[in-house]
Symmetry: C2
Subunit: 463 residues, 2 copies
Amino acid sequence: MRTTVLAAALALLVAAPLHAAQPTRIPDAALKQAATLRDAVLKDDTAWKVTESLTTEVGPRPGGSEADARAVEWAKAKFKALGYDKVWTEPVTFPKWVRHSESVQVLGAHAQPLRVAALGGSVGGTVEGEVVRFPDLAALEAAPDGSLAGKIVFVDYHMQARRDGSDYGNSGRVRWGGPSLAIHKGAVGFLMRSAGTDTSRAPHTGGTRYEDGLKPIPAAALSTIDAEQLARLVALGPIRVKLALDCGWDGEYTSQNVIGEITGSKRPQEVVLIGGHLDSWDYGTGAIDDAAGVAITMAAGALIKPLKPARSIRVVAFANEEQGLWGGRAYADKHAGDVANHVMSVESDFGAGHIYGFDSSARDLQPAALAQIQQVLAPLGIEWMPGKGEPESDIGPLTQRGMAWAWLGHDGTHYFDLHHNAEDTLDKIDPKDLAQNTAAYAVFTWLAAQAEGGFGSAPKAAE
Amino acid sequence: MRTTVLAAALALLVAAPLHAAQPTRIPDAALKQAATLRDAVLKDDTAWKVTESLTTEVGPRPGGSEADARAVEWAKAKFKALGYDKVWTEPVTFPKWVRHSESVQVLGAHAQPLRVAALGGSVGGTVEGEVVRFPDLAALEAAPDGSLAGKIVFVDYHMQARRDGSDYGNSGRVRWGGPSLAIHKGAVGFLMRSAGTDTSRAPHTGGTRYEDGLKPIPAAALSTIDAEQLARLVALGPIRVKLALDCGWDGEYTSQNVIGEITGSKRPQEVVLIGGHLDSWDYGTGAIDDAAGVAITMAAGALIKPLKPARSIRVVAFANEEQGLWGGRAYADKHAGDVANHVMSVESDFGAGHIYGFDSSARDLQPAALAQIQQVLAPLGIEWMPGKGEPESDIGPLTQRGMAWAWLGHDGTHYFDLHHNAEDTLDKIDPKDLAQNTAAYAVFTWLAAQAEGGFGSAPKAAE
């Protein structure tokens, strides 16, 4: 398999466009050091300890909560303890959404409670109505406008587990677009089967939004098991439920992106940007989402430091990703004028599963340098998968302004068992996978810092 | 293996005490019919449909709740729909315990909520204190009386998964005896790691009690994951928590044992008693505990009916087992004078795992008849395990007064993943295992009904 991949990479090299920049090359000495680094990191438990520390000492840390401030202090202290040369914060201001309570009660002859999570951004309120079930969003779309007056919509889309998590596109659309669609049809409340691949009673929260000009309705997700229960109940005959959410927007809050930097030994003004997001949803302790990403990248930087990287390694623990990518957008706004110096970027925000794939925005521009990197990643079981990757969450806004990015793809087969629910806890992380993740990030970050030449970062207008 | 088991059974036969009653024998025709019945039931889905019906239409049904009354009506209707010849109820009166809310909040620098279940029978109340962790009950016992004044005890015993569920003895002791022990030591609150073998955020409830004369303290169980979190927090340094339970005893309630009978064609006054308990705890829908037991035995009786059993088959859906074996005790009190006519009994109250073992109180008295029965059970993968079984829950009180019993042992390796928590739902049952369970109960019940001679039921004073 790897031979084929390498052949494909070499073919790409041959096919590189003639207008490509000066070819970037990784010095042999850096490649040798990368191999040594990789093997050492596989035996290192720094990332595990950092993950354990954040999830235990801070616990759940939704943007704007009391724990948000503690997480910021934790991150500053942890960067310092790990020996980062510079540690600073950059403010991130956002509207704060809070959850107080939530319930769904089946009424009538089959009275029983169902387990439900208010969607982030939902309005509060108590509504009662007959449940109308739709197997997916298309079925709801097909209902005539106004036809669901007084009803509670239930979109029962069953998300499928995939390695690349790609069915989140479909179930995420239900969460983002479902409530507004239900309002158009006349509904008074919105329920969905959780965007999750588990079978448990733990409902999955996550952000939603309402189209401008619509009067919002309470919107919530049932656990997958409770969705199956409601589907069985609906099949018995008309079922009324009472949906009661106490939640909503509550003023503004200023949190911080927390940044640690290992200062480059030769080109300190040029940075390789890595990171994860510091906030989490409120049910779990945010272990896979995204203490792991923070820990993988904090550990990678710390473990690279003794090698004295040529470029600076900048690790960002982004604020409030969950409620609207606030930290990533604030970072992009602040550093928009410095895109060219952000030579490369990679974020870990897809859990702590084994990393299996590698891709980069520089795939056409600098295939030779990527092929060199790939050779050091290959013993970790990581394939070159051109065209399969994309920049993860918080680095997205600055990549839209021209920053080069890479993708180190975690196996997400079980990611959506835990995503945004109470089961996202430390015990779900395999320390060996976490060490492999950290080795991949350390190797890639080190090689990007040592590369002679860049990967195409250049300012452009935001998309 | 089975050859060995048969040899052991035959050895027992030879060794049968000389004072044994007239040997009981199963007619050849009945054995043939049993094999046919067994194979037919394996393909039948009655038990599945009954389990689905109870868990969906009634849902959670704690003793004394609004759903308790609906469960009674459900059981009466289901017996009738399944063609039972007689259906009646017998009142069961008990004190009612109710749960309103429960929480544990870690205070101070590591503030976070932990997931907890009030133990059934706990008093309500709000207490704050420093947590003192004990790895097991023996360590708590070793603390001097009064030494934990003002503290909150945390017993962190890790229950082990076993096929026969035998470690429930150890973790159950923590639940039953831990609160009183903590009171003796001066504690103001009691926390335990759930008596469960899962790793999930779903805490396991279950009954507790306080020794007479003690002033009760709030008592609750953390989910296994939350217990691990608290253990990590305690290891960081002194940790204070606030434990707030709103629960307690609330008057008296009269529920019903619901009884369906297939009238015997030859000896109708003699009964083979089978059943499960109708109530459940409040978090799940009581699928494995004990809709399955009700369904297995309801289905077994219904599937035997066309064969016109010689003895009556009496199926009891017992009231309120969970809060103190109220239904089983009421049945024993009411039928204490009729022990001899309860020729044999077997209850299903250990989930819906594959049945692997068979035993009976008649093992020494009527080994030949049991060996005959075992031959029909053997193709289901059921071993003769003399001395390994015991009567399950609700039939216990009447067996103490002399009723003969059998044990059809479910594989309980995963039973305590779900026991008394929110995850006890329909999806956890394997329809094939449920059919195997039903086949075993049907075969055994049929053969006990056809046996020429009894199994030793004879009145004695209650133990």
